[in-house]
């Protein structure tokens, strides 16, 4: 359950969801930091977990990395407009969720209109995705509506509270509860049916 830091970063083993949970400890950035320094610090502590969160949402590691990097670039560009620098992680998480939605919307349109590509040699990322899809729970999670899937991923992978999920998804706490309950009911029914 422990992972290592990306290359170039300080190697410190940590739990996958540690960075998402310990927001106050690692998600806050001193107010006097400039954007470059803040981006570097947030990258060293949250990049991997954010990529995995995005991968659960978009089901593509390369796209997930792209999404997270775009979020970091956006945060760097809007660093001066960020009222509370201690909420940088919340900003990043919300940006990742929103960009993942955009990717999924775009993918729906592309998959609807574009012809199927010829089969190529499977890459390592494809293998990881296949392994991800191999899980029955993840497969069942894939059948859920996007909002319910987001709520479940943020709740059970990110270990976020309802308020944090609401902030990340841009919805109310009541909507978070509703999405989570419906998603759990649907997931349970799918798993019981398969079992």
């Amino acid at each position: 359950m422990t992972t290592s830091e990306p290359s170039g970063m300080a190697a410190r083993p940590m739990h996958v969801t540690e960075t998402l949970v310990a927001e106050t400890a690692l998600g806050s950035v001193p107010a006097d930091w400039d954007a470059d320094r803040a981006v570097t610090a947030l990258y060293s502590t949250h990049y991997r977990s954010l990529v995995r969160l995005a991968a659960l949402l978009v089901r593509d590691v390369a796209t997930a990395e792209e999404v997270v990097q775009d979020s970091f670039v956006a945060m760097h560009g809007g660093w001066r407009r960020l009222r509370d620098s201690e909420k940088a992680l919340s900003y990043l998480r919300q940006s990742v969720v929103n960009r993942s939605r955009s990717v999924l919307r775009h993918r729906v349109v592309v998959d609807r209109n574009a012809p199927k590509p010829p089969p190529d040699m499977p890459s390592a990322e494809h293998g990881a995705i296949v392994q991800l899809e191999r899980s029955a729970v993840v497969a069942a999670l894939r059948t859920l509506p996007p909002r319910q899937r987001e709520a479940l991923v943020l709740r059970y992978y990110g270990d976020l509270s309802e308020a944090q999920i609401a902030a990340a998804m841009g919805i109310s706490k009541g909507a978070v509860k509703s999405h989570t309950a419906r998603a759990m009911a649907a997931l349970r029914s799918v798993l019981e049916r398969e079992a």
């Binding site: 990306p6 990049y47 995995r52 990881a128 729970v137 992978y157 349970r188």
Partner: protein, 304 residues
Amino acid sequence: MQRERDFDDILRRVLRTATDSIEPSGDGLERIRARLTTPRPLPAAWLMAGYSDVALPALVRLCSAVISLRGWRGPGAASRSAQSSFAAHSRQPGGFRGPGWWLRGRLALGSGSHRYGWLRPAAVAAAIVVAVAGGYALTQLQRTISSTGAEILQLAPGKTHPSGGSADSSAASRVPGPSGTPSATPAPSSAAPSPSATCSPGSTPRLGSHPAATTTPSSSPTPTPTPSPSSSSSPSQTPSGTPTSTPSSTGGSTEDPAATLAAASAELVRPAEHTAPAASPRSTTKSSPPIEPCGSGNSTGSPG
């Protein structure tokens, strides 16, 4: 309840296990920095195209509109000045520094001491209105003063008598009638027939009240056309008697002071006559000069 907790734990564990195999590439930070330093080619191309084709003209027009709103200096002046200043800025040795700099520079003019620059048109309009109103008021005031002065001179002859008797002559010319007759030294008959008898009856009591009006025999004297001074009364009734003829005739006559007074009164009253030029010809043709100052309706006064 316990079942739900178990399910939550299962779900949590499955999700973590599934994502353990996902390992992001190590050059993530370098790629982020590369995106921060150099813009992406396609968006940059789109941005440049949009900037050169759409944003720049729109920005120029917007700035010209803003400047024209801030200080309107005539048709086309604002846009010309904006375009010329924009061209001047773009021709600077430092090169073109982008629309943001130019826009900030233009808008900075209105942020400091010219914060209330938009009041300029209102101030100019207000100044124009004040100037026009002042000119109109001055014109009206001048007319009022001239007419009032003429009336005062006519209504208060005794006060101006010592200086030249102009008021006397005017009063006499205007009210030589009933009031003038008793005062007139020559004879009641001379004043009675005077054509101005119908003129301004309201002023007659004043003349009667003022003993100084007795010196106004000039009222009767108007009859200057007559060669003989004594018979001045009779000829005065003749329509031929004009104010212009008075001085000449009176000059020859023995009543020199009266003639001078009449002349002076005519000179003083003349400005008031300018306002109603139509009155003088009528008076000259119809009746004797004393009727002239009466002006409006009574000029047609009884000729005899």
